[in-house]
Amino acid sequence: MVLKTLEVLGPLHGYGIARRIEQISGDLLTVNQGTLYPVLLKLEQEGSIASEWGASENNRKARFYRLTRQGRKQLQAEARSWEQTAAIIERFFTAKAQDLK
């Protein structure tokens, strides 16, 4: 989700990412926003995203995260595997008893 958000919106700070996820999920996902940061750190350590300090909208110092090339690749891979998983689950739900005979 983080990667997709960054792909769509470009560089963002932590608060922005959190807001965005809430908005897209239609406030269905309301976890503690703080839990986002360890995830960001993990992604950064893995090289999928990079961060730099910049000025926020209201001119305060903030840390901006952006997607790296490797992150893009990772996103594609994850998207593919998710689509696969979703497709399989989908098939299970749509399958009817007579189809299996």
Partner: protein, 902 residues
Amino acid sequence: MKTLRRLFHRLTSWATSARDEEFLRAEFEEHIAMQTADNLRAGLSTSEARRQALLKFGNVEAMKESYRDQRGLPLTETLVLDTHHALRRLRKTPVFTAAVLLTLALGIGANTAIFAVIDSILIRPLPYPHAESLIRIGTAAPGLPGLPDSLGCSPSMYFTYREENRVFQYFGIWYVRGASLTGIAEPEQPRALFVTHGVLDALGVKPLLGRWFSEADDTPGSPETVMLTHGYWQRRFGGDTSIVGRTLTIDSRPRAVIGVMPADFRFQGDPELILPQRFERTGQSLGPFNSQGIARLKPGVTLEQASTDVARMLGIWLYAWPLPPGMDFTPFQNALLAPRVQPLKQDIVGNIGSTLWVVMGALGLVLLIACANVANLLLVRAEARQQELAIRAALGAGRGRIAREMLVESMTLGVLGGALGLGLASAALRLLVARGPDTLPRLNEIGIDPFVLAFACGVSVLSGAVFGVIPVLKYAGPRVATALCGVGRTFSHGRERHRVRNTLVVVQVALALVLLIGSGLMIRTFQQLRSVPPGFTHPEEIQILHSTIPESLAKEPERVMRLQHEILDRLAAIPGVVSVGFGDAAPLESFLRSGNPVYAEDITLTGGQVAPIRRTRKVAPGYFKALGTRVIAGREFTWTDLYEKRRVAIVSENLAREWWGAPGAALGKRIREAGPADPWREIVGVVEDVYDNGANVKPPEFAYWPALMDQYIWGGKDGAAVSFGMFAIRSSRTATEGLLAEAQQAIWSVNGRQPVFLITTLKTLYDQSMARTSFTLVMLALAGGMALVLGIVGLYGVIAYVVSQRTREIGIRTVLGAQPAEILATFVRHGLLLAGIGTALGLMAAAGLTRLMSSLLFGVTALDPVTYLAVSALLVAAAVLASYLPTRRAIAVDPVQALRAE
């Protein structure tokens, strides 16, 4: 790849952690600020906006903590931090820390020391290359009663085995005896290892200087040679490298030094010189079996194959060599000679293993008790910290995190205790090597090696874990509410809280009882051994020394005897000397034993029976009087017997009873040694049995011959006299420098400065014969003593703690009219209950465990009721005392004070 990259990031951020922390704070701050701003825009009040923002973000500290866990190396970091905290806390409670460390150091140190002994004796291979293929070769003679389990090899066997074997890479035979080194300022009697060609080759240890013996050195007629061991070379010649090529006079013959062995060369009997044996092939007979065979097996040959091969060669040997002079073939035929082949290590180590494992087991139990004690102390400590722990749990510290911290503290204690213990162990080992019993094989190889070090570390960490886990299980749990409200003066503690501690004390008491019973059994064994009349009196007064009359001084037997007689007279004239005796050996001098079949004229052996081996000793008049051996019937030898060369003999009481039923009946009967070449000798006296193999072994039957004889089976054509002899001096000045110097002067004035050697006292020999028992006794007594102290301290601690917790209750009771005696009884009963349960469990455990040490006992059974009762009584008495003392202090307190105490 990803994992690696993360690890790299974690490592680098570990270094930059302080700056990162600042960034993290700023980032969170910014996040919350932005959320607050959004909330304000949504129309909330200022304070509500910030509160909602914080709620939405979650627990900031917890978030930071999980962020940190991602970032650095959390395990290492907290470990360092926890160790740091643990050390600081330990420094703040020096008494507690000292008590724990001392307990652990003793427990771990004792275990490490005994493990080092076991490691170097039983586990480590012998110090030779590929030591596993070295074997000892001996001969068993199951058909001849009275012989030791395993005889040595004879020179004739050496020739046969060398030439006929199919399985040995190298083979040789050896023995160790004293050799006199003369022609120098102080004549000496160094221990000399006599080897045939093949012995050093089998061992495979290269000389430090010079060369090994070649086959030529071992051939009679070639120039005589000698090698030195490193220790002797350093001590006697100051490590002078020009020694190789010099000539030494050994046993009155010049020998060229050809080499020096390296410092790490070790051999049985701890030799100082190594000499070639130089057997002549001609003139050898089947006997005597007084050398030891050693061989290196060819690669791939098993012990069984070697044994089969030796059995085959025994068959060849038996018919290839002449009989010893004067002996007939029957004993050899009936002896059922068989090979006795065993790994060299097993031969050296013998059966010491059982003793060592018992000691190790005992010390292991001590360590367990020590751990229980420390666990108890830690419980008290954890109790005191309960509030702190509860607050931390409330602030979000996980169960695991608290448990880890407590474990780190106990591990730190364990490791520190282990380090101290290692120091103790190395000191103890130095003491043991310097003063340990001679019966401990490979004593000089004992030391701390990496394996022992690893053992010490393992034991330290393990014991840290053992005593650390108990408080963790009890206190790390999430019981915030109880902990927070349950402290203070609101209530007295329930029974449940003491359950763990009570269990620990019961275990301690039980283990201590097992150890005390073990040492009690050893004490009883020792008493039993001491109460056996050894066949001599007041051994501490008897000085023993040996010297020789060299052939250069006297060759003819009578002349030799006259010189020995003169020495005896001079020794008797020394002030303070009560009596003197002379013979070929003193009692208990195991290396000077001799034994042969002895025949009685009127006892005929029925078909195929072989005369049993008896111990023989040659003695001069006064021998029995000097040693304090009672003459039961008849008389001792007289000088007239000796000089008139009367054919007389003395036997021990057990031999007289075996053959003739009563000591008196033996007088006038005639006996002889080995065979027809020996003349019949008339028994003139019967003496008390001498426990020549140690008090725990049935005394051997003795035949005593005169020290001068006109005809003797092993003598020359002129007869035989004892030239290599033992002088026993009974004096109140025994073992003083003065007496030794005067005795040495007396001997030197007659035999022309021949070395005086094997200087000892009969008491020393007597103690040595019990060395294994006393070693086990001392070790078990130490273990038992430590266990008792630790167990009692544990009990004292629990009762003292219970009393201190219930001081207020005692105060109330006193005010309400309870008598001090009743209160005392309550607590003592509590202590006794614990001790009682512990004792009962301990008795059961002891009944099972002491069976393991039954091979070490003498005269008592492993279930000796006296020991069990006495030890239990001792323990219960100690328990009463340990419960009484802390209680007495509590009831002495003024009730008003007690109620105010908290």
